[in-house]
Subunit: 393 residues, 4 copies
């Protein structure tokens, strides 16, 4: 691997060095399933401590300089102060993620609720998040709705789309110049019969109606079994509507496992389409964000692993010999074209990435460096008392 041509290696490093992967504040807190949340020691108790953990991940990987916030879990009185604190540890505040699913009012939905008052409340929260984003310097409003229904007939599917469209229009209209709305879809959960934005088609159709600052957010765990995610990625890039990713991985439903843990080949194929479609050029605005739950494993190392997995997939995607690929494709050489792709995938890029990290002045092995750092021991010792952060706070 390390026998790669020097000029190619330089070009590769240039791209890899500028890649930005955003970690989510909520993944540093406790999470679990409906059956049990297993509490861990050393978990942050407030946004400041979450940012501290994010900073550690960035320090060790070099490519995770921002953290997504979740409101109200990360609500503070003074966002300017939070931003300044983050700057101080080398972190910027990334996407703002509203929460319109955890109050009793939202039992039947938020922006799609049959109750106008509930819808108003939800939209007001979304608008609050626009304001938060302005204060945190965030340019991305990341919208996921738990809205849906559990039983056939429970509510009118079409009327709910009308309500959804109306809410999105209002929020879109209030976004300042330069802010983007990323609209996430999800196949199911927590709604079990119909979800109001169940697939990328629904999300795209709403984005097209809203305008160019509305784009689709692809959470890699939110699809029906067997869905070809890289097709969606390629399609949305072609349409100029790929807003970004929530990376995680799954074997079954929305398992929220470490990105690349369940199907590393799929992650590679996704990154291949991103690379082919120009999405690694930061000007296209494709956001690479993680959205995971580390239910039984320690959170910071899991985040480091996730960042590295996305990076490895990216490196492999960049190793694809595009000219050879295009030639084989043009000839209809099925096996030859597939072989070009597999050659890149089968390459062990870990030595290359170790070199990249050394070039970037960081430890070649982020996981080992974390274990050596004593950080885990320190937070376990220090973060005693208070309320450990979790999905509810």
């Amino acid at each position: 691997m390390t026998d790669i041509d020097p000029s190619r290696r330089a070009a590769l490093f240039d791209v890899l060095r500028t890649q930005r992967i955003e970690t989510p504040s909520w993944a540093y807190g406790n999470s679990g399933t409906r059956f049990k949340v297993f509490a861990q020691d050393g978990v942050p108790r407030n946004p400041v401590e979450k940012i501290e953990d994010a900073a550690k991940v960035h320090e060790l990987t070099g490519i995770a300089p921002s953290v997504a916030l979740h409101i109200p879990w990360d609500r503070v009185d003074d966002y300017a102060a939070l931003r300044a604190h983050a700057d101080g540890v080398g972190i910027t505040l990334g996407a703002i993620n509203p929460n319109v699913f955890q109050e009793d009012d939202y039992r039947l939905g938020s922006v799609c609720s049959p109750d106008a008052g509930v819808r108003r409340k939800a939209v007001d929260h979304l608008l609050e998040c626009v304001a938060v984003a302005e204060q945190t310097g965030s340019s991305v409003l990341s919208l996921w709705f738990a809205d849906g229904i559990n039983y056939p007939g429970q509510d009118d599917l079409r009327a709910r789309q009308d309500r959804l469209a109306e809410a999105l229009r209002e929020v879109y209209g209030q976004m300042p110049e330069g802010m983007r709305m990323l609209l996430e879809y999800k196949f199911f959960e927590p709604a079990f019969y119909a979800t109001d934005i169940p697939d990328w088609g629904t999300s795209l159709a709403h984005c097209l109606e809203l305008g160019p600052a509305a784009q689709v957010l692809v959470d890699t765990g939110h699809h029906a079994p067997g869905t070809n995610i890289e097709f969606i990625v390629a399609f949305l890039l072609r349409a100029g509507r790929l807003g970004g990713f929530h990376f995680n991985s799954r074997f079954y439903a929305d398992d929220d496992l470490i990105a690349g843990a369940a199907d590393p080949f799929q992650l590679f194929r996704i990154m291949h389409e991103v690379a082919q479609g120009g999405g690694l050029d930061r000007a296209t605005g494709v956001e690479f964000m993680l959205d995971q739950c580390h239910n039984i494993e320690p959170k910071i190392p899991a985040m480091i692993r996730s960042v590295c997995n996305v990076q490895e997939a990216t490196a492999k995607a960049l190793l694809v010999d595009s000219a050879a690929l295009r030639a084989a494709q043009a000839e209809g050489d099925v096996l030859g074209a597939n072989a070009v792709l597999m050659d890149a995938y089968n390459t062990d890029v870990r030595p290359l990435l170790a070199e990249l990290r050394q070039d970037m002045g960081i430890d070649p092995d982020p996981m080992a460096a974390y274990h050596r750092s004593g950080y885990q021991q320190r937070i376990v010792a220090e973060r005693v008392g208070g309320n450990a952060a979790g999905w509810g706070a």
Copy 2:
């Protein structure tokens, strides 16, 4: 059931009497799986005999007055003569379905093939079908593409979308006033890694680019496991882009079983959304077409059953007490709203439909009437020799 209010029954009958379900010429011929096509006796050997079978289905059900054609399987020298023959037996010629998947040239796709010559050939065939439609008096061009790839890297996903868009544009531009293009999607098969129109989102996005005469065709068997089809139906109706249905049913993949055989409740929910969204008003142009394979069961009775199943689901959908449903939905009465829907579904509409048929002057029991008619014995006796129709002819 028969204690339904007379004025309501009259309104119901008015809708049911005007429902139109189109049967596909190819379902009268032999079909099977890749493992085996079991030949049946009495199968038609040409389009005229297929039309004869379709006429029988219409005679007995009263609501199946048209037949979809598949070109080249139903290619004839003189379409005007075929049309006249059909008229003579009370049948109109319906949707024209091109075939761009059964020649060796199409190994790597048709309109998405990397080979420009193959694409030209495919588009020419589509244009031929536009011309056929003009001769048969068909207003619907029903497009399904087997295009896709079997291996990652085999071809460029995005380039294939470009080719697809270009081909559709050319054909769309050649359609006469009043003709509609119905663009079908399919999750997988025969392509096993990526299909070029795998879902309704892809189909809708292309239709939006093409113009108002392009609409989405929903084949009920073409979705990922767990997909909520009625949501798609409601969404497309709201967007004015539901072109119609290819009904059939499935437990696993694209099983092509008798409509309503696998999940009659799903068929009811679909028809409920159609009814709620105005799709039973024939002015909306929603086409109700069957697309099935009767691999092991006799074809004409299977078709009668299918027509009746769609009709029963429609009748149940019309029995939904919309006012009560809306009231319960507005109150957030989850169980109450669901109960309104289930009341209609749990009703046995067969006596009602028997009365409807008597009103229409046909036998109240189409299946019994078929068995009594001697038609099956006659075709078995008469259709000897020649090549039985199948997917290849």
Copy 3:
């Protein structure tokens, strides 16, 4: 429907009158998804109040005379007293369900944990539940294990089977004469890579090793997409190893919706196999239990609906003309045999069940009777303060 032959109706009523459907104590408490538990008013705060709710369901349906307990959620100091209380309201205590998934010790599993101490603790709890069952007069120990792993390599799949077998052996050996172990399987959740009893094959293989008092428990929501559950039911009945059901329904994963809500035809097919296989004869010991989560709908009405749905499916199954079915099957008459089944399914059995209830001296419409009863208003008024029951208590 009500024109059914009197002697056949009597036979039907005899079976329906003796059917027993067990409701679960935990479904009367609050439940939700990992995203949110929506609290409801009037929810019971202890086992006594849960039993009171179960008694109400039985009073109105006439066929739900027992309630399953979950330990420790329903742990009391004096089980004899609890049993006496239940007797007093006409309820018997049914299956005992141990909980070995909600303590921090169980992060890596219970009986399959790599930690011998954790395994010991889990087995001790199972043995405690055997003792509880003896005190409550329960003859069924219902075992579900959340055990599994989230990441490939996390633990040794085979070693976990060894540990599982050892634990089951010990518990099985401690069961008194007349007690049965019902071993549940689940496709996934909360484990996301591998579950230690993921399917009926695994459960059956362990049961075969244990002995005749070990049987498979089929939770209708615990299968891979597309799984034919009635096949499993038929197979297990044939093998004498169908212990019973946990009924609920699903569109996606383990949604825990009201039984029959998602696919009433499937529930009918299951009951058809039960009926054909002799499982409605109470001597076979097939337990009909509900296991649901009423996240957004009121719990008691949802339970009434569930009991009625199972009863309706049973009634339809009993209406199948078995002689006609066998005759058509023997002749290879595909459509005819299917039609016999569908005739029963399409029948509206609600009038028949209303008559049955009148025969049994209860209200013909249990749901209306509940709403008229004032019970809901009473519990909302009375059950104020204290801790509402939920999955954690």
Copy 4:
């Protein structure tokens, strides 16, 4: 990679050198989907030519010395002569695969058919295959049944199990000492409602009844979406009932793609369980067989690729540091244990396998060697006229 410890490398090579992967005669012929079989040039026209192709694959890979036969597709008058011919080109005749699905008699099933005459015919064919196996020197009878039903009620699920058991018993009883029956299961297709052996549980239950010479055959493409195949492999190995594999890969249904093409990580995990469970020790009798359809790609290169993919997965599995894995598992170190597994998977084993091949005296790059060999050109030139082999011949 090549810096592996010499003694470890030697041990590794010892295992890899003795691995045996059987190719299927039918994969050298034409195949396709129900929509189209694309004919290829140079395809064999008889068993002798298929064996010739298999010999080429073995010559280039060094680990594919046997070929599975399908009867009647490979029926010959003189099996002794066929065997002698195979010996002459370095090939042994492997598993015998009966075909009881391609005659009109089998429309409603073979050994499960409601027609006793059809069942007799099917069993007779199975017995014929036992006799064929004795003549070809095959010790494996590989049974797959297309049996099942398309519509609920079509036949009695339980009666079909009785018939199945009876047929298997008769065939099992006729097998000579040393022959094994490998019983394959399949989730669906060609049956679309219920398949008579739909899962490993069904297959295992029948094998347990039959005796020790009956074992389960795992076709990697025959599972419900999301099924954890390596769990099944580990479980069957533990039970001493893993007969072997039919390798291929899939994204959707039974796609029959090149093994390892869709999910190379899954193939690795499977081989890891095989290795952990002792299945690479040839004494355990686990058969590694391919069963694929090369619909659009050239067959011989696709087979070479498949063999190499299985070999690469095996090599990676052998690289797993078992001691480190066990240690991390014992400590409950979730991330650490997973990392040990991923370290092996992420290793590029191609250089190592190139060295192995050189040790074995064959070309380090089998695919390049094939393209250089001129074999493809020769068969295209020579195999003109006659009937190209396919699924029907």
